[in-house]
Amino acid sequence: MAIKDYIRERFFPQMWCPGCGHGIILNGLIKAVEELGLNKNDIVMVSGIGCSARISGYLDFHTMHTLHGRALAFATGIKMSRPELNVLVPMGDGDALAIGGNHFIHAARRNIDMTAIVMNNRVYGMTGGQYSPLSGYGTLATTAPYTNIDHPFDVVDLAVAVGATFVARSTTYHIRQLTDLIKKAITHKGFSVVEILSQCPTYYGRKNKEGNAYEMMELMKQTTTPVGSEAKKQNHDLIETGVFVETDKPEYCTEYDKIIERAKKDN
């Protein structure tokens, strides 16, 4: 199938700013779904609120554009009801980890089979460039005009700590890796997290003098390294990409089916 078979063409050109990394994630996600040969009727995409959340409207799946931060909670209800469906949950960094942080850690803890994609552009774009929990200490934002004194956290470390059974990171520069990791995440049975570093040239890039879209992507190339590489040992500031965790743990829906069996027997 061609890319056009997966999108709702009438809504294109899409609404994101020129050079926005979210479009690249959309592109890579379509490729991943295509290469996996998934049936569109078997895919439910649940998004929250923000620039990232608009991704669901462009895709010809069962799509739900929900509330800020709550996508994983809605998705949990869908997945529990229909475990055979592939549930994809793209979220922004503020969406997933500020307002939605609680749902993120608990969905991961349950190990419910779904794919969380954190489209991390380190800023609240839709509201005009305020700092997010992942903007980073010392960055600038429309609500951090002097400097940002908020410390960030590492999405990958967090996801690992709270029990996600597949955890990976890529960037919009590493498009082939991005696609490959989304494929692996969808295929993984359990809660998968893929953090994708994405560029916001309009707000984050401009405020922090990181240049235009491709200059920001060049920076991603320079500041990242494959997980476990020698380079990381030399330069601790490098951000690792690749697969961090891929483990088996009882999956929530499967476990609940056993509960039903037991309840019926005990009754």
């Binding site: 809504f11 569109k40 009727n41 078997d42 439910v44 649940v46 669901s56 409207g57 010809d60 799946f61 069962h62 799509t63 739900m64 554009h65 929900t66 509330l67 709550r70 909670a73 809605f74 998705a75 949990t76 209800g77 869908i78 529990m80 009801s81 229909r82 055979e84 469906l85 609680n102 749902h103 608990h106 609940y256 509960i259 039903i260 037991r262 309840a263 019926k264 005990d266 009754n267």
Partner: protein
């Protein structure tokens, strides 16, 4: 063989049994007094029927999960109390906007804030109506005894499906925790409204937000043959966002009209001795039990007194209240708040000056003695 099952239960259990009777397939909740028994009992009962019970990380997640589950074709419910109900308000608005059937139980306790968790109150009447932001209409039902809790819970599920809307069951701590007999009706004794599914064939354009001629909106399950969009934004008949003034106006009007135009079908109430009553109590929930007690005692002494017990609180059955109270010389609203239904009754009747409030707001059930004392004050006879 269908046999009548008689149980001695709490009101919360009556609600649980009714939900299962109505076809509940998915529940998500978070422990909170005084609604917790609903979650506990459903964690036992739901998997026995093949349904699913989920304890979420908070009340926000709980209501979001049931909305998601409803989209896949399940009948769904969550249960909470005061603070949890406050947390649910945003997602409640989402279910209103996206027209997703679901039932939300709020077992009222004393508020605001943490308030009086183990004590009774009826202070959430207006919150149930207006808690979520924006213009909308909503169905809110209540009951005063367990048999009625059962039937009104079934009604709640039916109305959620009929009008594609969230329905709030607004019980109170006394009804929820009181134990009394419950006869579970035989299968088929109460009507059950099932999800109206679209008959639109595969490959044919399906409009999830285009009402049929009778006003109902058939649905297609997520994961089924029709892929569409669901959003909390104003949206067109396909579910795609739109800020076209015509679309916005049309949708908002539809959301309000589909409920307000059916106020008589939605209205549930019970009347006791109203035919010749000159003094009428208007009450609901556990307060109505005390009011009924007073009515029966006074009737025995020949007093022309009656009770209009409301079971539908919203949309407010103003026409019914006006009609039933038209001959009354004195209308006393009995409730456990500062007069939330009182205001509605005053608006509904021809002469608001004859409407009085008999209330109690200290966390204790309003008793027949309380009501009698307040009546004496109203009549200028002192306590």
């Amino acid at each position: 063989m269908n046999e009548k099952i008689i149980k001695f239960v709490q009101g919360n259990e009556a609600c649980v049994e009714a939900a299962i009777y109505a076809g509940l397939g998915f529940f998500a909740g978070y422990p909170i007094t005084p609604s917790t028994e609903i979650a506990e009992l459903l964690s036992v009962r739901l998997p026995q029927t093949g349904g699913k019970f989920l304890q979420m990380e908070d009340e926000i997640a709980s209501i979001c999960a049931i909305i998601g589950a409803s989209l896949t074709g399940n009948k769904v419910m969550t249960a909470t109390s005061g603070p949890g109900f406050s947390l649910m308000q945003e997602a409640l608005g989402y279910a209103v906007m996206a027209e997703i059937p679901c039932v939300i139980v709020n077992v009222q306790r004393g508020g605001p804030s943490t308030g009086n968790p183990t004590h009774v109150s009826q202070g959430d009447i207006n919150q149930a109506r207006w808690g979520t932001h924006g213009d909308h209409s909503i169905i809110v039902l209540t009951a005063s005894n367990h048999q009625d809790v059962f039937s009104i819970t079934v009604d709640a599920f039916n109305m959620a499906e009929m009008y594609r809307t969230p329905v709030i069951l607004l019980f109170d701590e006394v009804v929820a925790h009181l134990r009394e007999g419950l006869t579970i009706p035989e299968k088929g004794a109460l009507d059950i409204v099932d999800r109206l599914k679209t008959s639109v064939k595969r490959g044919v354009d399906f409009h999830p937000y285009l009402p049929r001629e009778d006003g109902r909106l058939p649905m297609s399950d997520f994961g089924g043959i029709h892929r569409y969009n669901v959003t909390g934004l104003f949206h067109d008949m396909w579910g795609f966002p739109s800020s076209d003034p015509k679309v916005v106006h049309g949708l908002l009007r539809h959301l309000v009209d589909k409920i307000e135009n059916n106020v008589y079908d939605i209205s549930r109430y019970k009347e006791y001795f109203l035919e010749d009553a000159r003094t009428i109590f208007v009450s609901y929930g556990s307060s109505a039990r005390s009011a009924l007690h007073v009515v029966k005692n006074r009737r025995a002494r020949g007093e022309r007194i009656g009770l209009l017990e409301l079971q539908t609180l919203w949309p407010f059955p103003a026409g019914i209240v006006r009609e039933k109270c038209s001959e009354a010389q004195c209308i006393i609203v009995v409730e456990m708040n500062m007069g939330q239904v009182l205001q509605q009754v005053k608006t509904a009747v021809d002469n608001p000056d004859k409407v009085f409030l008999a209330n109690r707001i200290d966390g204790e059930l309003i008793t027949p003695t309380d009501i009698r004392n307040i009546m004496r004050l109203i009549q200028g006879r002192g306590v």
